[in-house]
Amino acid sequence: MTAGVLPVWWDDAADGPTNMAADELLAEEADRRGGPVIRLYSWTEPTVSLGGFQRLVEAESCAAISGLPIVRRPSGGGAIIHGTDLTYAAAVPKSHPWGGTPQTLYDVMHEAMVAVLGELRFDARLHVPSAADPSADALLCFSRRSPGDVVIRRPGGPAMPTDPKVMGSAQRRLGTTVLQHGSLLLATCLGVGGEARHEGLRELAGPPADWTARSLADRWTARVAEAVEIVREVQPATFTGGHLPEVAARALRFRDPRWTSRR
């Protein structure tokens, strides 16, 4: 039992199936440790991750993301274009205070990010639903709004219900654990068409602030650990590197077209 610490792994860039396989194993790690765990990672090439039950045909017919590799996540939510984002997976046993309802873990991660973005002089807040919200079934995660998404007021402008979303998360609720995927949009992804070009932190920055993806994430995971008064432990090795055979074996399922086209 190592529930008194929050292990954080920084992983090397990997392809979609490898990242999804590593995250499934991360959920088992949370179960084994009896407490929360976080993995931060990036992608070897711009990739679309599709929500657990989104229609593949809808993604394939979206001209804005045409040609990008697609991987289906085990978690829900909308499609994310990875490449200029910071991606995380957090896992926690259902018996943990964060594992009760879906919104609990969602809020823990997002409230900590709002606090960190505030330190970096972004005017960030959790989204409150309004009549101006776009359709909840839009293909792309950053085109949707859900309660608790992290949104940012544009520099120099008033706070608007339509302020851009910079962070969203979604879950897979397994037998004894919860796996949460999330994405913080660091900058606009320029390799996609117009409707998929969402503003990221770089475009929404007001006064210059000294931050990198790494420094921002370090502050964020420290905040998350503080929320339950546990000690964050940044791991010296990568999570995937420590589980290479298992990740490679499990990645086969995420490479299988039957998984990707399950809906």
């Binding site: 657990g52 039950f53 879906p102 859900s146 979604a170 879950q171 897979r172 397994l174």
Partner: protein
């Protein structure tokens, strides 16, 4: 009506006439998931073990497995449900039933929670 039992994973099961058992998910689980958007049911004829996933349900932010509370063969599914997900919230113990199972061992029901124990679980 026979007593309804609950799994810790929030499925309910009710023995029916003819030795079948009807399965659904509890009101607590439906409310915790919020805003259901999709459901995948198993095929009729599939054999499941207790604790094994028999289907999946997606809310706006989460995909969850639905676990078999008892082992047996799925003999009927509520095929109208995926197109009427509101029914799960409106009548989770009636019209919101999900599958009917022919249990391998009816004695398995004894190992599940009764209403009082389940209520205590969700309050803890």
């Amino acid at each position: 009506m026979a007593e309804m039992k609950f799994a810790k994973s929030h499925e309910w099961v009710r023995p029916e006439a003819g030795g079948l058992a009807t399965v659904g998910i509890s009101k607590y689980a439906v409310e915790a998931l919020t805003d259901l958007v999709f459901m995948q049911l198993p095929p009729v004829g599939r054999k499941v073990k207790a604790g094994e996933s028999l289907g999946e349900i997606e809310s706006v932010k989460a995909v969850s497995d639905i676990y078999a509370p008892v082992s047996g063969e799925i003999v009927e599914v509520n095929s109208a449900l995926p197109n009427q997900l509101d029914t799960l919230g409106a009548d989770p113990y009636g019209a919101g039933w999900i599958v009917r199972i022919k249990p391998d061992d009816p004695a398995e029901l004894a190992g599940l929670l009764d209403q009082t124990a389940y209520d205590a679980l969700v309050k803890s």
